[in-house]
Amino acid sequence: MSFKDIGLKIQIAREEKGLSQEQLAKAMGCSQSALSNYEKGKRRLYLSQLEVLARILDKPLDYFVESISPKNNAGDFPGKESSRQKIETALEKLDEKQLLQVIDYINYLQWNRTGGY
């Protein structure tokens, strides 16, 4: 588990909440560059800071702590749920033609995963 994983979780949760880096940094009382470093994992956040962040982003503290790597917590890690939720939200805004394009792309990804040609 690295603080890069925690940073990625912060970014995912911030985007889910519809906040820009600037808005979240202001709510946390830090600079945008500091928040950017937190999200990149280049700066460590400790318990008291993450408690504040968790409240702002409506997430439990353990959401940020558990590894985002599928190999450690296959099937139920919070990052995976967040990605699925994000896709579902995005799909609702697409028209029928765009949805067909998404299906094509998913088919391509599945084909590619099985080795393609």
Binding site: K42, L47, L61, V65, E66, S67
Partner: protein, 379 residues
């Protein structure tokens, strides 16, 4: 940027130096025994309220900031590194309580480490299967009658034989998730706690380091820090280590300085080929290198502590301080032994003790390879 110490800090350094001198005279007396380490040296530190100087005034402590604490630890380490390591370990054990303990936990446990009758404390993380990899920990706390039953075996626990309490890292579930980790405050008298093997170490060998065994140890719910907040234990651990590393840096600086001062004194008084050996370029250059390395180690340690006191980002600096200073302590003690010649080979000599103590500091508070991992992950 200002590198000067305040008047108060200079006075504290002189005071700590005087105490360290007394400690050294006890520790390097031929009659010195393990009992005297407890009965005299730890008591001397307690009488001066120096066993955990970071504890705030309201709990009976000195309320020292990190920078001043590092100054004090360097002085104590110059006198007797094992005494400084006892202080490091006690500060480390108190850290999770200071950072996130409830008011009740602070009022109950912090005063045990302050005042004339102060005791020491232990931080228990490492197990046979691992320490740095938290997913390997096997110490488990199961809920029972409103409290917890703790089972596990911790190893390499400093101060474990006489700790007033231990800050024990265990999990509240067996799923090996980091969010299950919590810090349990285990009093010495807890039922189900016993001592295991005493470790014999090549350096800092006056410390009691050994196993802590928890066999159905009953822990009150009130003794668990942030029990209801999943994920808090992992975050507390990372912060505790980030804060503690610079203190090991300060201890390393003290060891290096003690070796350098011993070598300088020897070089000024040892005459060969018609002059004090410090006049010979080979020795003079070695002393110049040693002095430079010590200054480097001290400055990086000071920077880490300054960042802590300013509320800055200290994680990388603290890991750098621990790694650089403990490596430098090894290099400088070896150079000092070279300058002392045959006297540097004598078993039981001050320099021999310093060489051995420096070796251990590269490992405690996370090996130096772990420090590289911490630093590189944040580049």
């Amino acid at each position: 940027m200002d590198f000067s110490l305040s008047t108060e800090q200079n006075e504290i350094v002189l005071w700590a130096r005087e105490i360290a001198g007394k400690i050294k005279s006890i520790a390097f007396n031929p009659e010195f025994s393990a009992e005297q380490f407890d009965g005299k040296i730890i008591r001397l530190l307690a009488r001066n309220n120096l066993l955990c100087p970071t504890i705030p005034h309201e709990y009976g402590g000195l309320g020292m900031d990190r920078f001043t604490t590092a100054l004090v630890i360097e002085e104590i380490a110059v006198g007797f590194p094992s005494a400084a390591a006892v202080v490091d370990a006690t500060i480390h054990a108190a850290e999770p309580i200071l950072l996130a303990g409830s008011r009740k936990q602070k009022e109950k446990y912090l005063p045990l480490l302050t005042g004339n009758n102060a005791g020491i404390a232990s931080f228990a993380l490492t197990e046979a299967a691992g320490g740095s990899d938290l997913t390997m920990l096997k110490t488990i706390a199961a809920k029972d009658n409103g409290g917890f039953v703790l089972n596990g075996r911790k190893d390499w626990v400093i101060n474990v034989d006489r700790a007033e309490f231990m800050a024990v890292i265990g999990a509240v579930a067996e799923n090996k998730r980091k969010s299950a980790l919590r810090v349990f405050i285990v009093p010495r008298a807890a039922q189900g706690f016993s001592l295991g093997i005493k470790r014999r170490t090549i350096g800092l060998d006056h410390l009691y380091i050994g196993e802590a065994i928890f066999n159905d140890a009953c822990i009150d719910k009130g003794n668990v820090i942030k029990i209801d907040e999943a994920g808090s234990g992992y975050l507390l651990l990372t912060q505790t280590f980030d804060l503690g590393r610079a203190m090991v840096g300060a201890t390393s600086v003290g060891i290096a300085r003690a070796a350098y001062e011993t070598a300088l004194d020897y070089a000024e008084n040892r005459w060969q080929f018609g002059a004090a050996i410090r006049k010979h370029q080979a020795v003079a250059f070695a002393l110049a290198e040693m002095a430079t390395k010590i200054e480097m180690a001290r400055l990086i340690t000071w920077k880490a502590c300054w960042l802590m006191d300013q509320g800055g980002d200290y994680s990388v600096s603290s890991a750098m301080a621990k790694m650089a200073a403990s490596n430098i302590a090894q290099e400088v003690t070896a150079q000092a032994a070279d300058i002392l010649g045959a006297a540097g080979c004598e078993k039981g000599s001050f320099i021999e003790q310093l060489v051995r103590d420096a070796r251990v500091l590269t490992t405690i508070e996370g090996t130096n390879n772990m420090q590289k991992l911490v630093i590189s992950s944040q580049l």
